[in-house]
Amino acid sequence: MKIEIRNLKKRFNDNFVLKDISLTIEKNKSTIILGQSGCGKSVLIKTIYQLFSFDDGFILYDGKSEVDIDKFSMLFQYGALFDSLKISENIAFTDFINNKTNFNKKVISLMNDVGLDKSIFDKYPSEISGGMKKRVAFARALYKNPKVIFLDEPTTGLDPINSDKINELILKVITKRKITAVTITHDIKSAIKTGDQYYFIDKGIIQDKGDCKKILKTKNKVFKSFITGADIKQ
């Protein structure tokens, strides 16, 4: 699914978080949204997902303003797993709460896809590690066979080895299943590894965009300072 966002504005009370955002998410490509903490990345993807309303501008999904959000899925920053449910029930959440019982086979297949061992099938989220929680959350996001997947800081809180593993896993799964992916991150290494195109947001506007493989060659001073960690005056 192709998603076009034009002149999007979103505010909370008097604070404009998104001042004027225009970007295009290409079908079956991996789009990376980069930016510092608090720049509005999460608000942007939640607005595209229609979890938030917006104040001005428009969003077109395959050229239409209406969309069935059942085609979307999201991996939340800290997993957002339901503590009172078992891992299998978390993954097959919608089937589980609707009292369907024949989801075990699909859950095991998904667990296998995301590199989870069957032994955690009946465990609770509090009994597994942070890396495993991300994988469970990813499996839950894939359960409904989404056309578009939104990934909110998928490597946050993970050590470098686990971050690499999660990046490889995301890349493998979205390529194999031909899913359009929108990832928000402030991790340049992850962006280069998993993305096709990037957008860099700063102070509520798009400061830079381009090919992920050419991120390090950017000419934009603000983005450069973000990459190097240098403090520059604009």
């Binding site: 979307f72 959440f93 919608t94 709460i97 009292n99």
Partner: protein, 255 residues
């Protein structure tokens, strides 16, 4: 000038919160009319509330009844009216103390836990996750809690009434020297069905107040640990104030 600004800001905040709360209640009834019940979820929640609340309910009932018998004796013995103690104990418990004390205790025990649980879900994005999983949080979170507590509170109040009367009986018979048969006879003879039902009606109202306020405070909590803490406090404080104030109007209704 500054003072007027502060009052104006407070009023605006209060009115907008009140509007949001009323809208929340309207949405609750809207989804209750066309419900999607998650039976397993509803039942397990009801059972959970029931089991976890029984000990405090029993303690509330027994000590209220015992204290009531002792204090009534202190007053009535001055007019040689000790024989009215069973009547006073049973009337006070069924009409007033049973529903009010149970409401306050359940607000502290269950209301706080509802608010904290939902607020934590809000902070950890589980509410957003529900939306992304096509699950309406009114159906999944609010309805089971409100229905469970509204239906459970009358049962709790009945238990408190019974255990409280037994507490009064124990003190009156074993401490104050009442005849056991006479005490029970006075209790049963004096109590009318209306007395009991007025308390049960209050229990329904208090159960609804506690659960709807707690769900609202949890769902609209601020972010972070502070947000969870203040939503829990707000749930208990607002529920308690609403219980005490609505109790007056309900008492007027049944007077």
């Amino acid at each position: 000038m500054k003072f007027i600004e502060i009052i104006g800001e407070f009023l605006l905040h209060f009115l907008s919160s009140l509007g949001k709360f009323i809208q929340f209640i309207i949405f609750f009834f809207k989804y209750l009319v066309k419900p999607k019940f998650y039976l397993k979820n509803n039942l397990s929640y009801f059972v959970g509330i029931f089991i976890s609340s029984i000990p405090i309910i029993a303690l509330t009932g027994i000590f209220s009844g015992m204290v009531l018998a002792l204090q009534s004796y202190t007053g009535f013995s001055r007019f040689s009216a000790e024989s009215a103690i069973p009547n006073i104990v049973v009337l006070t418990l069924t009409r007033e103390l049973g529903p009010v004390l149970t409401g306050l205790m359940i607000s502290a025990r269950v209301g706080s836990s509802i608010a904290a649980e939902i607020a934590t879900m809000r902070v950890t994005e589980q509410i957003d996750a529900l939306k992304t999983l096509n699950t309406n949080y009114y159906n999944y979170l609010v309805t089971p809690r409100v229905l469970s507590l509204t239906l459970a509170l009358p049962i709790f109040v009945t238990l408190v009434d019974f255990i409280g009367v037994m507490g009064g009986y124990i003190v009156s018979v074993h401490r104050l020297g009442f005849s056991d048969n006479l005490y029970l006879l006075n209790t049963v003879d004096f109590l009318s069905l209306n007395d009991y039902l007025s308390g049960i009606f209050k229990a329904f109202v208090f159960g609804f107040i506690i659960s709807i306020v707690s769900c609202y405070c949890g769902l609209f909590s601020d972010k972070g640990a502070f947000g969870v803490g203040s939503s829990t406090t707000n749930a208990v404080v607002i529920s308690s104030i609403l219980i005490l104030s609505s109790n007056y109007f309900l008492t007027e209704l049944f007077f």
